[in-house]
Symmetry: none
Subunit: 199 residues, 4 copies
DNA sequence: AATGAATGAGGTTTCATTCAT
DNA sequence: TATGAATGAAACCTCATTCAT
């Protein structure tokens, strides 16, 4: 039914806004219910408990991100182009969705997120649709000797770490990331991961 | 007196371990007291309230880090050497003090840390002893045209972001950072920030 | 709904009994909850905190008193009759509601009550319905030269002070105030405030 | 020894000031110790516990008052003179010792004071030196048919009640009791208690 | 005799969750 | 299905009292 899924979406949205803004323990279930225009008990018809709500919210956001990265993905193009596509899209998405970004940051820095991270990295092949786009790019880049021959997780941090910190600074107002600056940062990260041999 | 400082240190240590492990709200005062072998009320002889405890603990860790970075600092040496010194020392310190690292991560991702971050970045010259070593290195590097001419906060993220993510992965067991790998990462970060002109 | 107002009333009543009996700090919220047959947390659905509970309880009692004084008030009758009406009604009310009396005594002798008292006396015209009956009587009496020309607050104390002390003694069992004695006391107080000139 | 009694006096004075100012539960033992420039534990060398301290402090104040009332007491003079002496002295004493007044008010409105009051009034002849001056005056006045033939406790309230309320108002700044006003109040109270027959 | 650090029971308040309606 | 009042465990913090020094 429509109403049904509407309420679920309202709850998810309310939780997102509150947690992004005030952290997990600044977002009591009662406040989420209020903001969702729903009774406290209603939340429990859609989510078994608060942990489940938090985790399902994360999964939705994660799917959003994956969708964005795959949209217009330049399959078959050079590794360089693929990297610039993924980096740019991700950056623009997070900048234009600061609540999503703040939420995921909170999530990864909490008991919830730790296990998530472990699942993802240890399992490596969590999603059967091959969504781990960056990993794929790096593997290809290494085998083509375009990228430094470092563990994938290291390349991943070199490529993504700076961006995530800068987006935080952007949302906090310490720096203004415009297209020109984003491009410079992308290039700097590319400089960091590409093989020094072929310079 | 001995007893005095012992108890304070015990409390600090207990708080560090619990919060690093379970986050701020997985560390109730009663649990900290238990772990410190101290009565609940005793904590309040040393710290006005939980917030103060959390902030003082952070300040202690911050001082540790500053001390480490300044130890054997290669003043007068080239920017390149200074960067490698700071990066390496910081990395080794955080790897060998995983609780300190986890704690600071939690701290920066919380209401406490946000303001701290703002103070640090806006104020820029917080500590009169010139402890803001990285910023100094970057300024010098830019003026010598050795480093990319980017906002200091961007250089800072390019240089430090990857390391911080990798140390988290290291403490979680997803990668093993040995001296050789650390050196490679340092070089990769240096590649990221140095001016492309003089390659 | 019934349940709603019932619970609130139960809490108010429990607080009244405990505080009247044992003072503010002999009445922890847990004890109030127990006596009201309610969970501790339930109190906070009806009152934001203990202070609010204490103040709202006072306001309810105050309204009771005002209602009693205005009931059958002999408007248009001589000042003497009005005084005897108010004095008698107040006295009978307080004697038959010893908990209300004890509560208000505690209240006026506490940080809560001090400010209340100041509001009342400085503001003077707190309630727009002209409930400040005694003050009105005194003003009329002075202008008719029936009463001593003293500050209103002095007349007020002369008229009410003895009664309040005696009601305390009555509730403690040191004296038995029957109708005859109440009348004699009323007359004595009247003797105290009326102008000596027209004797 | 001097030092000994000095400390006891310091503690008594500190307790007086704090409790008069902030009430019993705004005066923790630690605060009393601080204000008395004494260690917390020291208080317990002079007073078994907080209750004992509170009660002994009251007894000291009570003795002060008795001393004042007996000083220059017009024995053998008419009841009228004796009443004016006692009323005036008491009034002046309380006005010039607002802390004593506030303390005794708090005391009488608390579990401590209730029992005290009972002792006093039931026992009636508590102190063997005949200090119950007012009662004596009233007995004499009744037998001489100068005063109304009312229970002693009623006369007592008629005579003292207004004054106590007015002193409170004075200490709160709602009225300024000067010698002239005190005299008028004394006369009004006298009007209240004296026999109407011989007017 | 004096100290004051330490204790821990007990106070107020919050909030995830349940359940009668 | 939805509600939201009610619950009570658990959080933070205070403070009278003790006791080793």
């Amino acid at each position: 039914m429509m109403t049904n899924s509407d309420k679920r979406a309202d709850i998810i949205q309310a939780a997102l806004e509150l947690i992004a803004d005030r952290g997990f323990h600044g977002a009591p279930m009662s406040a989420i219910a209020d903001k969702a225009h729903v009774a406290a008990g209603t939340i429990y018809r859609y989510f078994e408990n608060k942990d489940v709500l938090i985790n399902e919210l994360f999964l939705e956001l994660e799917n959003n991100v994956i969708g964005v990265l795959l949209h217009d993905y330049p399959s078959g193009k050079p590794v360089h182009d693929q990297f610039f596509h993924v980096f740019g899209e991700l950056c623009r998405y997070l900048i234009s969705h600061p609540l999503h970004f703040r939420y995921m940051e909170q999530y990864f820095n909490s008991p919830y997120g730790i296990s998530k991270r472990r699942d993802k990295l240890v399992g490596k092949k969590i999603d059967p649709d091959g969504h781990d786009t960056l990993i794929g790019i790096f593997q290809e880049g290494i085998s083509q000797q375009i990228l430094k021959d470092l563990p994938l997780i290291v390349l991943s941090s070199l490529a993504i770490g700076p961006m995530l910190y800068l987006i935080r600074d952007h949302t906090l107002g310490f720096v203004a990331l415009d297209d020109s600056l984003i491009l410079q940062i992308t290039e700097a990260c590319w400089d960091g991961i590409r093989s020094s041999a072929n310079i």
